[in-house]
Every structure is written in structure tokens, then in C-alpha cells.
Amino acid sequence: MKRLFFLILPVLIACSCTKPEDPGTLDPEESFLAGNGVFIINEGNYTWGNGSISYFSYDSSIIFNDIFQKMNARPLGDVPNSMTINGDYAYIVVNNSGKIEVVKRNSLKSQATITGLKSPRNVVVIDNSKAYITSLYSDSLTIINLKNNTISGYVNIRRTSESIVLTGKKAFISNWNGGNEVVVVNTDLDKMIDSVEVGKEPESMAIDKKYILWVLCNGGWMRENYAELIGINTQTHEITKKLVFPSKLDSPSCLSINGDGDTLFFLEKGVKRMDIDAAGVPEVSFITEKGHMFYKLGINPVNGDIFVTDAVDYQQNGFVIRYSNKGDSVAGYKAGIIPGSMCFKVQSPSNTE
């Protein structure tokens, strides 16, 4: 019977090894959300449901992570992709959950959830009652009624869509996923009125102060073609400029423009900066990666601060790195898993809330 000690031992160890569960705590952070800052949309891993929203607060120079979960006591969804602010509300596009979370921009408290979307990617607000949603897999844009946050219709563009920008009564939509076109939609009629053939896989777009639409074509994910930066006249839809990248291995992404609309930025082995009147794409990086691997880029439209994200190994929490408009590193902040696109909530000093 003495040897029964050996039998009891595993039981004792079993009992002693159980850890108590961590209590869940919520820290109210609304006060910081009310000020100027930038939302970082952390994509998380596909199907893992670990996407989140971070907020870098200019007032406190602190980043707050996982805000949506804290404010709403539930996860955001699977692979949030982008966020757009319109008035008091913000629209968070959650790609693999097929939904848009409509939240208060100063608290991120959910106001409504628009469901039934096919792989939504980006949203552009047409006016106070209407927005368009692009889709990775659908051949239509979805029209959202912003008054009651419901789907009010579709615009058949006969191809999938990614980036979307607006000028006047026209929306320009890129057909990124294997495509090579930019589609033009009349926003009064909700109808496609034209398409422009561009380079392989137009990934991102921006409109400059001269109303030139800049389209960054990455050349295809397998590097089948040379990447191109193309300028399109938004009135005539003619290509006015075509800048070809020097190597097939160049894989630029995340075309952005500063608040004045005169300088383009994009990622290509660091941050590249280019005047809109430049004759060619820049060879030298404005900001080098220095041990990082830049994933997404955002430019503060008011002060020109440059924000880039680093997804590290795409499993652990990534970083957001902030540079001044001169390209000097200011600080780095730990965000969520796969920090992706950014949404600026900033007011110019002359237009404070």
C-alpha cells in the first residue's frame, strides 16, 4: 500500500497545475478616441477572426489596441480591410465576414451592421445618403443607403473591384484581382459609363490637385508584367502619363497622396516619394525599411506625417511606425496582428471640432 503514493502523486500534480482563468477587463478609452488620431485596421489571420482596430492618439501619443472589442464586448470579425469616416460615423469593412460595421467615430460603439456583402473591400461615401462598396469576388458594386444602413442596390461593373476614389459625379474603380482596367461609374445614375485599360493589377489609386487619377499597377502577383504608374485625365478618361518601373521584380503598392495633392507616396522596398510632375518613378527610397518589412502606408492629410505598418511574421502583433513629413522617424508603436490600412481622423487647426 505504501506504493499507492505513486498513484496519488499524479492526482496531486493534476490538482495543483490548474490555473485560474484571467478575468476580462474593459478600459474605457473614449476620451482619447474623441481627439485627433489615426485608426489602424489590423487584418488578423484569414479565418482566425483575430482582426482588430487600433487607434493612435495624437493628443497622448499613445496607441490603443483592440478598441472595437473593448467598446462592443465582441470581436470585430474576420479580416477587417478598411475604414472610412463620414460625419459622426465610421464604416469598417470586414472582408471575410461579409459585413460593414457602422460605428460612432468618436467611440467606435457599433450603431448598425450591414450584412450580406460578398467579400467587401473598400467603401467610398458618395453623399450623405449613399456609399459604394467594392468587392473582391462580386462583379457589382454594392450601394448602401446611409440613412438606414441597408443595401439599396448594385452597380453592375462586370468585373471585380478593389480601390475606389471619387471626383465630382464620377467614381473610379480599379479591377485589381487579375484585372487591368479602371471602371468609371456615374454616381447620379449608378451606372458604369466607361472603362480604361491600364497595366496589370491596378492595386491602388489617388487623385491629385490637378484632378489626375493616379493608378498604381503592380504588374501581377507573379510578376508577369512590369509595374506601372499611370495618370488618367478624370474628365476625358485618357491616359496622360505612363511611368514604367525598371525591373519586373518591382512590386509597388499602397499609392497615397499628401493633403496638398502634389506629392505621391507608395511602398517599394521602403517608402518612395514622387512629385506629381516627375518624369519617372523614383529610384531611391525616401524612407528605407531598416530591418522592417513595410506592409501598408498612410499619409496624414493635414500635417503630412507618414505612417507605415510592419506585419512582422504575420502571426504576432505588428508595428506602426510614424515618420515626420521630412521622413524622420518619430516613434514606433505595437498594434494588432497584421496592421493594414489606416484611416485618419484629423482636423486642421483652422477647423477644430
Binding site: L7, C17, G49, N50, W221
Partner: protein, 649 residues
């Protein structure tokens, strides 16, 4: 007086068992079937050291448990009967395993000694295997896996079909109906004599899987939803032939399996489903010949494994078509040298041929290995094992694997043993790791690991009616050159030998059996603690954090009783928290799930009827094994097992 003393002793032992049952969330094995030979599971021999592979840990799933859970998948059976962690996407969904804190591809799976892991994935989906088709399931942990095959860094799960040389014909029909529109039928015919046996089994399963669950993730208040797009249709057919003449045995086994299932989305997908569907089809055939010549046994086995996996996602326009064919030739000898030493030498050659629209071209790979195993059992106190394997991966000769173990009986004529083992074992990359387009890396090296094992086990008969056994063990695995997919220079991910993982753990098990007259009670319990961390430098969050989806704590237990023809089994499993992000800031809570079976056996001449009623998830726990994928709540099942046995003269 003697009677009173005996009953007092029995009562004391029963109370002791009860104490164990109260303290541990229990589960384990049961012994119910009329044809159960319980002693087979805990053979205690004092003539020699007990283990067939001294120094290493091997465990068996109780064959009686297999007999009572014939109509569930092997994933479900392993989850309720062992400390194998099953990572499941829910009922009918893909289920992979984790042994001793390692990944799914570190568990090798063999069927009658031949590797059946999908060569493209390098792992097995246990939800596709019907437990009722298998006669025996054994788990060889860590270095013990080298005895059977390559690559089992965590271990190897061996599925066996063995002949029963009885001279009779039996027919079995086993329908099973349950909640969530689950309809299962298992049927079989076994016939033969001393020289020839034929076993035929067929299985069909249709499950709607439309179980309700609480969705706590789409709004701040839980919403009751019903699982959609989760239907499963599975068919199996198994034919075995066995022939023996004098000292020669021949066997042929063919197993056809087909599963067509819809894949439900996560709870976070608002529309519920993306219309994903997967079809798995396999044909597995093994032909084996064994011959005994004096002190030496010879064997040769040929096998062909055909696997088809088609996945479609209409929303994303994905049509993935994958076919693999594997041809295996295995042969060797087993002989006795000196009096107490057994020497085994075998050669294994496996050719994998893959056709996939996810690869640039059709590809093939040939892996050849030679293994030498020597085990020595000196009298009844000491046993030792040495294993060495040399592997040729296509044309590359790999660093040899090896294993060494020893076992020592602590007290003469008593079954208390200490064991210790040390191994270096490796795993050849999966075909997807090498050839997936884009990102596969043909230059990948094999993963390798150093495995340390230390343990104690005992068996004791406390009285004629009560026997107990227990085992304690510690392990440490250092896995190096682990393959990891990571973002490459361009827009796609690539595979590289990047990761290093250290896992350390403790395992324990206890069982007690009481049997007197027509009453028998069996208690089984197990507990394991596993700490599995990244050993990479420079990524601070990973260091000292538990790897995601590796539970630190797991326990299982069961209490089975039988009185005359009435039986019942209570099983409980506990799975501790599992972290779901690498910085361990989020986790899934632990869960304790209990199942219950009660039944009666009614023999009538050559017929027997076994009716049982089963409740799964008795306490209707809402839980997830993988984040955002709900598991079913309480379900009810009724099963009838009809047997006709005709004994031949």
C-alpha cells in the same frame, strides 16, 4: 469474519477509486463487450520486462471502447479516450491532432504498418476515419514512433486490423440514429476457419449537423443560431483476407473511403456560409506476406494508397483538385540473437506521385530508409532498445535518426518500472511544403528533433477482485529546422526552415479494475501538462509564450460498470485553455465535456441484440475547440447492434 474482512477491503478499494474519480475530470476506457478480454490491455508478466519497446511509452485505446463507439469518427474517439489533443472545426469538420505539444504534421498515422498520412499535407484528417472499421488503435509517443515509421516527432498513431482465427461465421448490423439528423449504419460479415479468414465491413453515414449554438460573437447579447452548410456524407468499404499455412501468413486488405461534406463558415461570417465544399476519396490497399523460419521471421508488404481531395469555394472561384498516389514496399526480418536479444531489420521505400492544380507540374518523390532495431530483455529486471535509421530523401542521404531506451524493474517480482529514452528523429517536408505554387521550397531540409523521455509505471493486484496500474512520465522535445510559411520578398508566402520549438511535459495515467461475480467496474484517468514554446531568437513575443492551440492542461477519465447484461459508461474530458494569439493575450477557455452510455445486451440462441442509449455533451456545454467554430451541444443517440454467430465444427 473472513467474508466481512474481504468485503471491508473491497469497500476500501472502491472508496479509493471514488476519491480518484472526484478529484480528476475523468475519462478513459471501458470494458463492456461480452467478448472483451480486458486482461489483454494490461498484460503483466513477471517473467520479463513488461514493455515490448523498453524505454518508451506506448498506449492503446481500449478495444472495448472501440467496440462501443463504432459509429463515431476516430477524431471523436481519440478526443474522449486519450490525451491526444484534437483540433476540430466542429462535428464533421476537419480534425487534426497534436501529440506532446507538436504540430499536426508531427503525428504520423499508419494503417497496418504503412504510412497513410496524406503526402501533400503531411498529416491526417481524423474526422475521415470511422472507428468501427479499426480493430486496434495504438499510440507510440515520441521516439517510440521510430519502430513503425518516419517522421513521428510527436508520435505515431497506428491503426490495426487483425485476423481472428476462430472457426465461425458472424454477421453484424449496427444502425445508429441521433440528434441533428444523424443516420449511421455499420454492417459486417466475418467468416473463415483455421487457415482462411474473410472480413467485410461497410459503413454509411449521413449527418445534417444542423445543431443549434449560441453565437456570442456577432452582437453583445448571445444569439441562438443553427449551424448551416455542415452536411456530411461518408461511405466506407473494407475487405480483409487472411490466409495461413504452416508458418506462412498472407493478408490482403483494401479500404475504400469517400466523404463529401460542406464546410461551414466561422461564427464571424455574417452570412453563415461561403458555400465551401470538400470531397475526400481514398483507396488503400495492403498486401503482406510473413514467413517464420526457425528463429527468424521474414515479411514483405506492398501497398498502394490513392487519395483525392477536391475543394471548392464558389465565392472565391477556387477549384482545388489534388490526387496523390503512394506506392510503398516494406520488407525485413526479425530474429533472435543470443537468448534475450531480438534484432529487427527492415527496409521501407515510399514513392509519392502527385497531380495537383496547385503545383506547377506533376511531381514525385521517393523516400527510402533502412531501420535496425535491437532490443534486449535481461532476465526479468532490465530491458533496453537501440534503433537506428538511415533515410534517403530522393537522392539526398539524411543524417541518421537514432533512438535508445532502457527500462528497469525496481523491485524483484513486483511490477514497478523505471524507463528512460533518448531519440533523434526527423521528418521529411510534405509535398505542399516543397511544391505548392507559389511559395513551395524544393530546397527545404528535413525537420529534426531531440526527444527525451523518463517515466515510471506500475501494476499491482490488490486482491483477487481488484487490480490497479499507473504511469508517470516526463518528456522534453527540442524541434529544430521546423518548417514555417512566411511572407516572402514578393506578394506570396514561402516555406522555409525557420522555427525552433521546445516542448516539455508531464503525463500520468491511472486505472483500477474491480470484478466480482457478475459485477465489474473500471476506472481510468489520465492527466497531462504540456508547455510548448518557441525557441526562436529575436521575436520577443513568441519566447516563453505557449504556442497557440496547444493546451497546457488536459485530463480525461471514465467510469464503466457492468452488471450481468446491463452496462453503462461515463466519460469526461477536460481541455485547458488554448491561446489563440502568439502573445497569449487571447485564449479560448477550457472546457469539460461529459458523455454517457447505458445499454443492455440480450442474447438469444445464435443471435444477440445490444441496445444502447448515448448522450453526448451531457451538460449541454457551449464551447469551441477552434476559435469561432462552435461544437454541438447535448445530443441523443440510440444504437442497436445485432449479431448473428454461427460456430462451425
Amino acid at each position: 469474519m473472513i467474508k466481512r474482512k474481504a468485503s471491508g477491503t473491497i469497500l476500501r478499494h472502491i472508496l479509493l477509486c471514488g476519491v480518484f474519480f472526484i478529484y480528476i475530470p475523468l475519462q478513459g476506457q471501458n470494458s463492456l463487450s461480452e467478448d472483451t478480454i480486458r486482461i489483454k490491455e494490461v498484460i503483466i508478466s513477471r517473467k520479463q520486462i513488461s514493455s515490448d519497446l523498453p524505454g518508451f511509452r506506448k498506449i492503446s485505446i481500449d478495444t472495448t471502447l472501440l467496440k462501443n463507439y463504432t459509429n463515431i469518427s476516430l477524431a471523436e474517439l481519440l478526443a474522449l479516450s486519450s490525451q491526444v489533443f484534437i483540433k476540430s472545426y466542429g462535428s464533421g469538420g476537419s480534425s487534426t491532432s497534436s501529440l506532446r505539444g507538436t504540430g499536426a504534421s508531427h503525428t504520423q498515422v499508419s494503417w497496418n504498418g504503412i504510412n497513410i498520412n496524406n503526402p501533400m499535407l503531411g498529416q491526417t484528417d481524423f474526422s475521415l476515419i470511422t472507428s468501427g472499421l479499426i480493430d486496434d488503435v495504438r499510440i507510440s509517443l515520441g521516439g517510440a514512433s521510430m519502430e513503425t515509421g518516419n517522421g513521428g516527432i510527436g508520435g505515431i498513431i497506428s491503426l490495426e486490423n487483425n485476423p481472428d482465427w476462430s472457426n465461425r461465421t458472424s454477421v453484424m448490423v449496427n444502425p445508429d440514429v441521433g440528434s441533428f439528423s444523424r443516420y449511421v449504419l455499420l454492417a459486417g460479415v466475418k467468416t473463415g476457419n483455421d487457415n482462411f479468414q474473410s472480413v467485410t465491413k461497410a459503413h454509411v453515414n449521413y449527418t445534417e449537423n444542423d445543431f443549434p449554438y449560441l453565437n456570442t460573437e456577432i452582437s453583445s447579447e448571445p444569439v441562438l443560431e443553427k449551424r448551416e452548410n455542415s452536411q456530411l456524407s461518408r461511405k466506407d468499404f473494407l475487405q480483409e483476407f487472411y490466409l495461413r499455412k504452416q508458418d506462412n501468413d498472407f493478408s490482403a486488405r483494401i479500404w475504400y473511403q469517400s466523404t463529401d461534406r460542406n464546410l461551414p463558415g466561422s461564427m464571424l461570417i455574417q452570412s453563415g456560409t461561403q458555400g465551401e465544399e470538400q470531397v475526400d476519396e481514398s483507396i488503400r490497399s495492403i498486401f503482406s506476406f510473413k514467413s517464420e523460419r526457425g528463429k527468424t521471421d521474414y515479411f514483405v508488404t506492398g501497398a498502394w494508397m490513392h487519395d483525392r481531395l477536391d475543394y471548392s469555394n464558389p465565392l472565391a472561384s477556387i477549384e482545388s483538385k489534388n490526387v496523390s498516389n503512394s506506392f510503398t514496399l516494406k520488407g525485413g526480418i526479425e530474429t533472435r540473437i543470443l537468448n534475450s536479444t531480438k534484432l529487427r531489420i527492415f527496409i521501407n521505400n515510399e514513392l509519392n506521385v502527385i497531380q495537383s492544380n496547385n503545383y506547377e507540374n506533376n511531381v514525385s518523390r521517393n523516400t527510402a530508409s533502412i531501420t535496425v532495431i535491437a532490443d534486449k530483455k535481461s532476465r526479468n529486471r532490465f530491458g533496453s532498445t537501440i534503433m537506428i535509421r538511415e533515410t534517403l530523401d530522393n537522392t539526398v542521404l539524411l543524417i541518421p535518426d537514432f533512438s535508445a531506451g532502457a527500462e528497469f524493474r525496481l523491485f524483484a517480482d513486483e511490477d514497478h518500472f523505471l524507463r528512460s529514452g533518448f531519440s533523434r528523429t526527423s521528418r521529411v517536408p510534405s509535398m505542399n511544403d516543397r511544391y505548392w505554387f507559389p511559395g513551395g521550397n524544393e530546397q527545404l531540409k528535413n525537420e529534426y528533433a531531440f526527444l527525451y523521455d523518463l517515466g515510471y509505471k506500475m501494476n499491482q493486484r490488490l486482491s483477487p477482485a481488484i487490480s490497479i496500474s499507473s504511469e508517470l512520465g516526463f518528456f522534453r522535445n527540442l524541434i529544430r529546422d521546423m518548417i514555417q510559411w512566411h511572407p516572402g520578398e514578393y506578394t506570396y508566402w514561402v516555406a522555409d526552415n525557420l522555427s525552433r520549438v521546445n516542448s516539455t511535459g508531464f503525463e500520468s495515467s491511472f486505472s483500477a479494475a474491480y470484478s466480482l461475480n457478475e459485477l465489474s467496474i473500471n476506472l481510468n484517468a489520465g492527466y497531462s501538462f504540456t508547455r510548448s514554446v518557441s525557441a526562436e531568437a529575436g521575436t520577443e513575443e513568441k519566447i516563453m509564450n505557449q504556442l497557440i492551440y496547444i493546451p497546457e492542461n488536459q485530463a480525461n477519465g471514465s467510469l464503466s460498470t457492468r452488471y450481468k447484461n446491463i452496462y453503462s459508461v461515463w466519460t469526461t474530458i477536460f481541455t485547458g485553455r488554448r491561446y489563440i494569439v502568439v502573445d497569449n493575450s487571447r485564449h479560448l477557455p477550457g472546457y469539460t465535456v461529459s458523455n454517457f452510455i447505458a445499454g443492455i445486451k440480450i442474447p438469444y440462441k445464435k443471435h444477440s441484440f445490444d441496445v444502447n442509449f448515448r448522450i453526448e455533451n451531457v451538460f449541454n456545454l457551449s464551447y469551441q475547440a477552434i476559435a469561432h467554430y462552435p461544437q454541438p451541444g447535448r445530443s441523443y443517440h440510440i444504437s442497436l447492434l445485432y449479431k448473428f454467430i454461427n460456430e462451425s465444427n
